[in-house]
């Protein structure tokens, strides 16, 4: 048998097999089906557009680093042109600064205040009643973390996911305080999900008032004992891995001039 002969035979039987197709009936269906396909295409396009817009909106507004953005959801942005006081459990006074803006009034009920540097990737989160958290949960307290500022600072240096660091004595508003830089140890596991990313939690009050490390979030914690407010935590962070940005002299000077009264 030659291939050409077989092909010709197969072609003939294939054409015979479709001879029963009702061509005119299918022709009559074309306009209606074309309209239906166009509606389907439009619906699919609308769904895709909605998904894209939602994704873009989420990407533009999603929380990063230790807080949301230099402008809170109501658009409140407060340049620190003048010194002020935040009504925490123990009110906290802050100096004027051209380094930070703040959303100070956005979450007063949660006992914390967020300052942001104008780069949008660095900031300070100040919260009272700091509590050491377990590595797998931001709401569970780690009982080994201690109850005083110094104990918590030391505890941070011993966290398995924290790169080697040490505690440095300093002062905040004239009170004794302890400072410790914190970066993620290479290869360390981050066992909690927070703000859409895997994190290694450090200290929290009531979430989102807290501090943590992630793949790119690094920072410096300053802790002090404040009667009536437990341990006050001042977490200076940067979410691009730039530790220098979170620990430079201007930031440290600002921290040292905060005061709890």
């Amino acid at each position: 048998v030659r291939l050409e002969d077989l092909a010709q035979h197969a072609t003939g039987t294939m054409h015979d097999s479709v001879a029963s197709v009702d061509t005119l009936r299918r022709l009559g269906q074309v306009p209606r089906q074309a309209r239906a396909r166009r509606r389907s295409s439009a619906a699919i396009l609308a769904i895709v557009a909605a998904i894209l817009i939602t994704t873009a909106t989420w990407a533009a507004t999603r929380p990063t680093g230790s807080d949301v953005s230099p402008v809170d959801k109501r658009g409140v942005e407060q340049p620190l042109l003048a010194a002020g006081t935040i009504p925490l459990d123990v009110p906290m006074a802050f100096p004027s600064s051209d380094l930070f803006v703040t959303t100070a009034k956005s979450r007063p009920a949660q006992g914390s205040v967020a300052f942001f540097q104008l780069d949008g990737h660095s900031g300070l989160r100040v919260f009272e009643h700091a509590r050491p958290t377990r590595s797998d949960s931001v709401v569970e307290t780690d009982p080994t973390g201690g109850t005083t500022a110094l104990e918590m600072a030391r505890w941070i240096t011993h966290r398995p996911f924290v790169a080697p660091t040490s505690v440095v004595r300093t002062s905040v508003g004239g009170r004794p305080a302890w400072r410790v830089t914190a970066t993620l140890r290479p290869g360390a596991r981050r066992t909690t999900t927070w703000n859409w990313e895997r994190i290694a939690p450090l200290l929290f009050d009531v979430p989102p008032s807290g501090s943590w490390l992630s793949r790119r979030t690094v920072g410096e914690m300053t802790l002090l004992d404040v009667p009536g407010a437990g341990v006050a935590a001042i977490w200076s962070w940067n979410d691009t891995g730039n530790l220098a940005r979170a620990t430079d002299d201007d930031v440290r000077s600002f921290v040292e001039h905060l005061s709890f009264e």
Partner: protein, 186 residues
């Protein structure tokens, strides 16, 4: 469904007879004429490439609807049928689009049972089954070449590639088919 008309718009229900030779508009074949002439061949092409009689009719219809929606453009082409055959062969070999067609076929089978397509005899069935086992472009080349008794240039137009590519696809496809079917290669 005979005669020549102005190109139909997508939403136009009216056909304007242009059978007068004095008309100054360029004459194009009516969509209806085109459909009646091409549809059975497209069903055969789709069946050859998919192996499914039920899906073949839906795939051919999809190709024809795509043509309908762009009829102004397609009818002005040098080879409108080549464009539609290309669409049909692409749908036939596209897994994603075939899945959509499959779902549509199932819906239609539930509501509108079509006439049973005739079965192929054993040699024909074996031949087309072997064609479907070829690489996608070789299968398209073989199906278009034989089903439409095309020349290489016509097949190239339907595949949207060069004649040289078609010759290569045909040669490789034939060699593979001859080996698999244990027949003599020309």
């Amino acid at each position: 469904v005979t005669g020549y008309t102005r190109p139909l718009g997508d939403d136009s229900d009216a056909t304007v007879s242009t059978t007068s030779p004095a008309l100054t508009l360029p004459l194009v074949e009516s969509y209806e004429c085109f459909y009646v002439r091409e549809f059975p061949g497209l069903v055969a092409l789709a069946r050859a490439l998919t192996g499914s009689a039920a899906q073949a009719e839906e795939i051919a219809q999809d190709a024809m609807i795509a043509t309908y929606r762009r009829w102004n453009e397609v009818s002005a082409m040098e080879h409108p049928a080549a464009w539609t055959r290309r669409v049909c062969s692409h749908i036939s070999t596209s897994v994603v689009r075939r899945t959509i067609v499959e779902a549509r076929t199932m819906r239609r089978l539930r509501s509108d049972r079509p006439q049973e397509a005739a079965e192929l005899d054993e040699p024909s069935s074996a031949f087309w089954s072997a064609v479907r086992g070829l690489p996608r472009r070789q299968a398209q080349a073989i199906a278009l070449y034989y089903l439409y008794s095309s020349s290489v240039s016509e097949t190239a137009a339907a595949m949207g590639c060069t004649e040289g590519s078609v010759k290569t696809h045909l040669a490789r496809g034939r060699a593979t088919l001859a080996a698999r079917l244990e027949v003599e290669e020309p």
